[in-house]
Subunit: 213 residues, 2 copies
Amino acid sequence: MTQTPLSPRKPDAREKLLASALRLIRTKGYTATTVDDLCKDAGVTKGAFFHHFRSKDDLAVASARHWSQITSALFAAAPYHLPQDPLDRVLGYLDFRKDLVRGEVAEYTCHVGTMVQDVHLSAPEIRDACHDSIFGHAQTLEADMEAAANDRGITLPGGAASLALHTQAVLQGAFVLAKASGDAEIVRDSIDHLIRYIRQIYQSPHVEGGDMS
Amino acid sequence: MTQTPLSPRKPDAREKLLASALRLIRTKGYTATTVDDLCKDAGVTKGAFFHHFRSKDDLAVASARHWSQITSALFAAAPYHLPQDPLDRVLGYLDFRKDLVRGEVAEYTCHVGTMVQDVHLSAPEIRDACHDSIFGHAQTLEADMEAAANDRGITLPGGAASLALHTQAVLQGAFVLAKASGDAEIVRDSIDHLIRYIRQIYQSPHVEGGDMS
DNA sequence: ATGATAATACCGACTAGTTGGTATGTTGTA
DNA sequence: TACAACATACCAACTAGTCGGTATTATCAT
């Protein structure tokens, strides 16, 4: 009946476990999320878990890569890439990040940012997978930041890569404060500060289009 | 020597356990740090642990308050309070934070920032203790930020409290990226971005036309 | 088509070790 | 003797991971 012609197998349990991993680990943290928790949430058995993953750590690495795929697809399809001016694309990205801050804390915080705190010393493989996810995402901002600087004949303080990483630091840190206070508004406020900083760097006081309402 | 007259004895094990908690939890995370780990590191037995703390969560709350005391003493004694200009005190604080970023990741990252990610939903008491530590520290910056704004006749975008929290967000987020990459330089770079932002806020003579209320 | 063969996907009881926590001491001091 | 400050032995629940087994599907010679 429902048979995908391209993939001969349908590893249903694997996808359900990865989806549960994103939800549970973001809520409880990696160490506090047990294999049984994941199996119960995904509606599969332990046999299925260890059929698809050699260990809990193996699932963590896979979940980090899965997170990268989910998020890169989300951002690639987002409308902030449309403006001609690369600076507007950068500012559009930050507005888009603000729009994503809705609902419960676990719904808008970062899976790999949460996980890497738990395992950055004990599990280097997971840490590296988280690193690749965060830093890979930051790289997608570099080109626009660099192009906007070239358009205006300015040099970015610290370089485009440093500014791109700074945006991720602001987001990750704002998530920490949101977890401490339960208040999502803190995230939006910090992004607003970042938007002002970037506007001032490029010395572009005007606003294109109807954002920031 | 130093004997408190109010307490009949000095609870040596309690202080050793709290010191171990700061070191171990910053390294491994709260959930991954076991009671046995703490006892072994502190050189005490489990009996001593549960004599001084009702539960592991009780120690976590105590460790968050202990962290607040340690850090508030550190910052209160720091030389950045000396300048006459409150803006110089704010910038001196950020330079001081940069100087603290030395050695291993666990040596300069934030105990309560690490812990709150682990427990923000499962243990509200610990979360609140972490919240008080972070937001209380942020409050110590507010007065100088506000005074510096009044001296210059400007209005801070979002208010002094928001700017103070933003500094903490930048620091916490930079710690996350440092854990992911093992590179302390990332923290100093993000603080440099924050210093530029704050300098620009206070240097701009005009009222920012704009976004916030 | 059909049946044999083999590979994958999944099940759930089981285990060896770990977990936070307790019960019952012992020791030093006032 | 009274009490705080420990120490030792222990436990029930939980942990990641194992293992023999089954159901479903793919491959392929006939």
